[in-house]
């Protein structure tokens, strides 16, 4: 605020003070002050106008009706002049009254009023001169005083006005013609002037000095007024802001007296939260609003809060809702802990949130439990699938071993019998029966040899089966290793031999396959699953074709194994679900439906892909692609 600053800077030394009085700070620096001054000038002009209308009217009545005759008989010759003058002034007054509303700037108004004052002074001087004996005192000063009193003039302006007025009166006194029919000699004029002018001059100057002090004091008042208005406006605005916050806040706002716990302030939001009008809350203890379960805890907390160091705090509390037994869970925030007498803060209803949070926690716990159950069920299913697959593997192995075992058993027994006969034949051989005896020996020896050969052959076969079994399971090596997939296919085919035996032809179209880094026993599981499915898909007789080849080069090189069967095929709507865990078309109780999903998983783990194509009635082809990684 520049004006205020200027005022505060006002120096104390005498010379400066006089200077400041004569040349006050400009009025147009602060628009509010400028406007204030303009209004004052405006109202000043208005008052001058009123007076300029009233007085002449009264005077006109007085002089017009001849009432003046008695008290002022000397004024008879100038009656006409007086009437004319009054009319002039009245006219000017009316004009000013009309124009006063249009004052845009203080100086504008001041100028016109000043001009009026000078004209009025001249008119009144003329009247004075026309009176016999002529005078120049009194009324010529009247309008100057009036104007200076009513319209705030800056000091220098007032001075100028005073001088102008004096000069004008002087000139008028010397040269202006007096009333009709009267004659005034220069000599008289000069005499009158000689008496009057000094007084006039002093008087006018004094008036202007008075105006100077008037302006100064008026200015201070105006400044103070303007400042007061501004502060009042600001205060009102901020009060309004606070009020609207207070009224419209959805959070409850409260303040309590520290010692008694009595509620001092409560806003309308508390009605929503607690079901009680704010008016009912004020003047009562906050303890009444606590939920019964909370009272002791609250008392304890409140006591320690009051005793201990005051900090801003945020906590949950259960409050009582009118006409309900359910507590309202509220989040209470306490602020401005520095005031020792008052505790104030906000209350927010968080019952919903708290309930939701509890629900969510419960749901999460439930989900976790369910998840745990699902996982364990899944593990069991995978286990049972493995067991089922193992079961058929075991059945296959048992069947395969049966034959060589039968041979071994039979031949071992045969050897026993032959040896028994041999034992018997070792009794002295009758030379007479020589040839027959030698024949018998030869025969027995042949039998024994044959039995031995068969036994060895059968034993080899069992060794082979066990090796294939070990190969298949790769029980001794479970880590990733280089492996020839053809070997895996062969051992799987061999172990499944019994299910193909009399109705399914096996066709092999093997390409050149390099060894790749993989988990061979896992891939063997995949081959077993696919071959079993192929065999089961074929109703009666059919063919299973195994095709192997390498595709691509460099890092994109992959091994492709296709297993095609001439079985029933898979329905198009089932095709996309074929790898889903638990999906099976084999009927209830046959298999767990997990075989293909486990195979899918294994192939994925090898970063490969497994796809299926099928034609109903013609057959199905499963294609496995595994990236050919080297160690």
């Amino acid at each position: 605020m520049s004006i205020r600053a200027t005022a505060a800077e006002r120096p104390e030394s005498g010379a400066h003070r006089v200077f400041a009085l004569l040349i006050p700070p400009p009025e147009d620096e602060d628009p509010i002050l400028f406007d204030e001054i303009r209004r004052r000038v405006q109202s000043g002009i208005w008052m001058v106008a009123i007076i300029s209308m009233v007085l002449p009217t009264g005077s006109l009545l007085f002089f017009g009706t001849g009432l003046f005759e008695e008290p002022y008989p000397l004024l008879r010759p100038v009656r006409r002049l007086i009437v004319e003058s009054n009319l002039t002034i009245l006219a000017m007054g009316i004009l000013f009254a009309a124009l006063s509303r249009g004052v845009r700037a203080p100086n504008q108004g001041r100028f016109f009023v000043a001009a009026f004052a000078v004209v009025a002074a001249v008119i009144s001087a003329r009247i004075q001169l026309s009176v016999s004996p002529p005078q120049l005192m009194g009324e010529s000063n009247f309008f100057l005083l009036l104007v200076i009193a009513l319209v705030p003039y800056r000091p220098l302006q007032a001075l100028a006005l005073a001088l102008a007025s004096t000069a004008a009166v002087t000139v008028a006194a010397l040269f202006m013609p007096v009333a009709e029919g009267l004659e005034l000699s220069m000599e008289v004029r000069e005499r009158v002037l000689g008496q009057a002018v000094p007084v006039l001059f002093v008087f006018n100057i004094t008036s202007s000095i008075v105006a100077l002090f008037l302006y100064d004091s008026r200015r201070s008042t105006w400044l103070a007024q303007v400042e007061r208005d501004r502060l009042a406006k600001e205060l009102a605005a901020s009060e309004e802001k606070f009020r609207s916050l207070f009224e419209q806040s959805t959070d409850g706002i409260f303040a309590l007296d520290t010692k008694s716990g009595i509620v001092l302030i409560a806003n309308p939001a508390l009605k929503e939260i607690l079901g009680v009008e704010p008016e009912e809350l004020v003047g009562r203890s906050f303890l009444e609003r606590l939920h019964p379960t909370e009272v002791d805890a609250a008392m304890e907390a409140a006591r320690s809060y009051i005793r201990g160091p005051r900090t801003a705090a945020r906590f949950h509390a259960k409050l009582r809702r009118e006409a309900s037994t359910q507590p309202v869970i509220c989040e209470i925030a306490i602020h401005r802990p520095d005031d020792p007498d008052v505790v104030s803060g906000t209350i927010r209803d968080v019952t919903q949130q708290v309930r939701l949070e509890e629900e969510i926690r419960e749901r999460a716990a439930q989900l976790e439990r369910a998840n745990g159950l699902i996982q364990s069920a899944q593990t069991k299913l995978v286990q049972s699938e493995k067991m089922a697959s193992l079961g058929s593997l075991v059945a296959g192995v048992a069947h395969e071993i049966n034959t060589p075992l039968g041979a071994i058993q039979s031949n071992a027994d045969l050897s026993r019998r032959a040896l028994a006969q041999l034992e018997a034949a070792r009794e002295p051989i009758d030379p007479a029966q020589g040839d027959a005896g030698r024949e018998k020996l030869k025969r027995l020896s042949t039998v024994l040899q044959e039995a031995n050969t068969i036994t060895l052959e059968a034993t080899q076969r069992i060794v082979r089966i066990v090796r294939e079994l070990r190969d298949f399971a790769r029980l001794d090596q479970a880590e990733e290793q280089m492996a020839d997939l053809h070997r895996g296919l062969e051992s799987t085919l061999s172990l499944l031999g019994y299910i193909f035996k009399n109705r399914i032809r096996i066709e092999k179209k093997y390409g050149e396959l390099p060894e790749i880094l993989c988990h061979p026993h896992q891939l063997n599981q995949v081959f077993m699953n696919l071959l079993q499915n192929a065999a089961q898909a074929i109703d009666g007789e059919g063919t299973i074709t195994l095709e192997t080849r390498v595709e691509g080069r460099g890092p994109a090189r992959e091994i492709v194994i296709a297993i095609r069967d001439t079985g029933q095929g898979i329905k198009p709507e089932h095709l996309e679900r074929v790898f889903d865990p638990g999906f099976t078309t084999k009927g209830v109780g046959v298999g767990t439906g997990l075989g293909l999903s486990i195979s899918y998983q294994i192939v994925q783990d090898h970063k490969g892909t497994i796809t299926v194509e099928s034609e109903l009635g013609r057959g199905t082809t499963f294609t496995v692609r595994i990236p050919a990684r080297a160690a």
């Binding site: 069947h399 034959t403 039968g406 041979a407 058993q409 039998v447 039995a451 035996k501």
Partner: protein
């Protein structure tokens, strides 16, 4: 079956070591003539053309399964006892088929040599008995026919 001829047993199995084992055993312990085949088709040809006293067949074979084979044998020569060799896994199916196809016996693999010999002997004995029975029935029929002829002659004389 003529008394002079040794009984002929036909063995059919796709596994050669089974055939060798059984043949060696029977050669040592029995007087039977053993004829072995790995192909059921060839066996059928033989059975059709040659007198045979017993047929033993395996169940699971690539060319045709044992039940089908023995069914065909029954069509050819219904009097011959038919025996099937089954592995543990096929026992149930075999037992069901026994009634359908009319098998004499089934032998489980691996077989006990004593049991095998016994079953074969019983089978052949039955065959013998049936043959003798049939012979006797033929004789009786023949005698009956002659009696009827004589009766007619007599009646003719009296009529």
């Amino acid at each position: 079956m003529s008394a002079a001829r040794n009984p002929t047993v036909v063995l059919v199995d796709d596994e050669d070591i089974v055939l060798s084992s059984i043949r060696a055993l029977l050669a040592l312990e029995t007087p039977y003539d053993i004829v072995t085949f790995t192909s059921p088709k060839k066996a059928l040809e033989y059975i059709a053309s040659t007198p045979v006293d017993l047929v033993v067949s395996d169940y699971l074979m690539p060319e045709m399964d044992g039940i089908t084979f023995l069914g065909k044998v029954r069509e050819l020569k219904p009097d011959i006892p038919r025996i099937i060799l089954t592995g543990y896994a096929d026992k149930e199916n075999a037992i069901k088929a026994i009634n359908e196809v009319g098998l004499y016996q089934y032998i489980e693999k691996p077989w006990e040599n004593d049991e095998l010999i016994l079953i074969l002997r019983n089978g052949l004995e039955r065959r013998q008995l049936m043959e003798r029975l049939e012979e006797k029935i033929r004789d009786v029929n023949k005698a009956h026919a002659e009696l009827m002829k004589i009766q007619r002659e007599i009646l003719k004389v009296f009529a």
